[in-house]
Symmetry: C2
Subunit: 407 residues, 2 copies
């Protein structure tokens, strides 16, 4: 049995007109000989509207009841999409996460999928029905309705495809994965293929489209993911093991840039072995996500450390730093919110040295100061002045061939 | 354990502000020493909005998917109401019909309750929680989500109260059952008590407030129903076995009037024993609900018959009648859409003769012609010219003491 799991996001099912178009796309796949399982998100702004209602009731709504509320969003989508398929003469049946026994942990609003019982899906497919499943939701051991949190619907699709041994297609409002956000790199190129590892790095850098968690799960099951546009018939991007297969591997596959971070620099910290542990422990306790860290010990035996955190956490960070200054006289700290974090990602870096050097060179030639650098096996991130963001992106894009050739 | 089941309709939970007020009312009952189970409908216009979405997808949406869609309405209400109770410091838990195993027949959109598994409710009550249950919905033997159709939430409340051996309170946007619609009989009086039979007659005459089906179920289990306003602290009406307990029983408990019907009169039908059966069989086939029927045989051996049907069915009725005239030359028929049907209802009629005579007398004295009459054990209905509706209502209201005394 040739099964495909297709996932359609909130924008794709944002209106009843769009739902009918999604039905047409599903029918096309069915006519091509596939058994189709569809995962849908809530319609457009439906989830936001439900959250607004909850906030009118309480500043911190009970998480179990929040899940009870939010899961109605996908339930509306699955019923309307099934109606649309039936109205077009096809057999279809919708299921909530509860009905399908999509078993999750009990942590409301952030549950994780434990297992999916596929017998109901298989039975419906054998009856030649299109199976329409509510994404983002499941049921806990206590029979409570749960939600999977951010990236939940993509994760539902990947998990179900893995269990069914099916192909997996993610339809969304962009037509694939680009080397860089085309709003920032004008001639950014759409990738035919990207590896799981590269996509995970891109996703964790906030390069939209796919959520880190879903890519991680696909990687675990070595499940190829096809990402394409819901409303255009352009070829999309395949996320799969190993990435690009060209003989001459490209060094850099993609790039991401963020203006959401800020840099904190602390000078003259005592160079005790416990200092960093204590410092970042306090940030962790406040749930502040510290991203890049660079540190050095001076000749005088003092330590300087520089790191980035989300701009939103500035106030909380200042409280921590003021406390440290009281307890450890002599330290100084400064903050800089006017930064851009630019990252390049590529499996090729594993085997080819010199990517960092080339990056530093092109920025130095153009007098763009690098304030901070961190590297991992397949990623280099650097912090520069926010004013130079777009210039740097274009310089780096040209250097590593991230733009389309005919531009 | 002292348990009360309270039901709040769609208007009562129409906004988040109103939901908070409903929470206050529940808390008051809880503080009075009750374990509280709450049944809620969908918020205000929510169901209508969902139906509009479905109609945009298809003129005749698949019934199973329609139920999947509509049940989200109550799911939103139960989660918001539970959040409100929790935010006010009380323990609460919401359940869908599916979660509570409210078992129904499989007829989508018109399912009937077969049984309710109450162990989950009892466990939550023992944990001192307010239990908030989605009305109007259940689950079929095939594990499909079903809805109960019109009057569904009231029926959910009555069924659950009967199973739990609980008291049952119906909160709505009117403050009780009146002798007559106060928009038509200005000094209509609110009843302290009404019997199941009287309420069923009133409900089937379209006298709002409670649906026939829920009253019928309450009657079956001899479960007293208290009907009162959600937002006022006025005393409501008790619907219970036997009705009013005063020594001097009133003859007439209530009155209803409808302008939705029309009268059809057929003259010179053949007086064969099969004629009426055939005629009304054809109306039944077209699902036209024939209400009042009066018939007579003339000296010449011909039959005249007069009956009422809903005005909406005029076109279909005309088709049937034209067919009859072709097949049975000599018959004549006429229609009258300008009629009012006025009915009086009262258990007292069982034991006291003369209600009909009194009714005819007061109308005759005021020169209001009665075009048709039917009577049952506790009800008299008569058809008059629409123009005299309000006059007749006030005359009858005064005659049988249906108005308040100090007017």
């Amino acid at each position: 049995m040739k099964i495909v799991v297709q996932k359609y996001g909130g924008t794709s099912v944002g209106t009843t007109e769009r739902i009918k178009k999604v039905a047409d796309r599903i029918i096309k796949k069915k006519e091509a000989g596939y058994h189709v399982v569809v995962i849908v998100s809530a319609m457009g702004k439906a989830t936001d509207e439900l959250i607004t209602l909850a906030k009118e009731i309480s500043d911190s709504p009970a998480p179990r009841e929040m899940d009870m509320l939010l899961t109605t969003g996908e339930q509306v989508s699955i019923s309307l999409l099934s109606m649309a398929l039936i109205a077009k003469g096809y057999s279809a049946v919708s299921f909530t996460g509860y009905q399908l026994s999509i078993q999750t942990t009990s942590l409301h609003q952030k549950a994780r999928i434990k297992d999916i019982e596929t017998s109901k899906v298989m039975q419906a497919l054998e009856e030649n029905k299109v199976v329409v499943v509510a994404g983002f939701q499941g049921v806990s051991d206590d029979n409570d309705i749960t939600t999977l949190g951010r990236g939940g619907s993509d994760t539902s699709a990947v998990a179900l495809a893995a269990k069914l041994g099916a192909e997996c297609e993610i339809y969304t409002d962009v037509d694939g994965i680009y080397t860089m956000d085309p709003r920032k790199l004008r001639n950014a190129r759409k990738l035919d293929v990207i590896s799981y590892e590269e996509m995970m790095e891109m996703a964790s850098l906030g390069a939209g489209v796919m959520h880190y968690r879903a890519v991680e799960l696909a990687n675990k099951y070595k499940l190829p993911l096809y990402v394409a546009s819901t409303f255009e018939d352009k070829k999309g991007t395949m996320i799969e093991y190993g990435g690009q297969k060209e003989m001459e591997e490209t060094l850099v596959t993609g790039m991401a840039s963020s203006l959401d971070d800020m840099q904190i620099t602390i000078l003259n910290l005592p160079a005790a072995s416990t200092t960093l542990y204590k410092l970042f422990g306090e940030f962790a306790e406040e749930e502040i996500n510290v991203d890049m860290i660079s540190q050095m010990i001076t000749d005088g035996g003092n330590m300087h450390v520089s790191f980035t955190i989300p701009k939103d956490d500035l106030k909380t960070a200042e409280k921590i730093l003021n406390r440290w200054r009281e307890e450890t006289p002599g330290i100084q700290w400064e903050t800089n919110t006017e930064i851009a974090k630019i990252s390049v990602v590529g499996l090729g870096m594993r085997t080819h040295a010199g990517v960092a050097a080339k990056l530093f060179e092109v920025l130095a030639e153009n007098k763009i100061e690098i304030k901070m650098v961190t590297t991992s096996e397949i990623k280099i991130s650097c912090v520069i002045d926010k004013a130079f963001e777009i210039q740097a992106i274009n310089l780096i894009g040209n250097t590593f061939g991230l733009g389309s050739e005919l531009e």
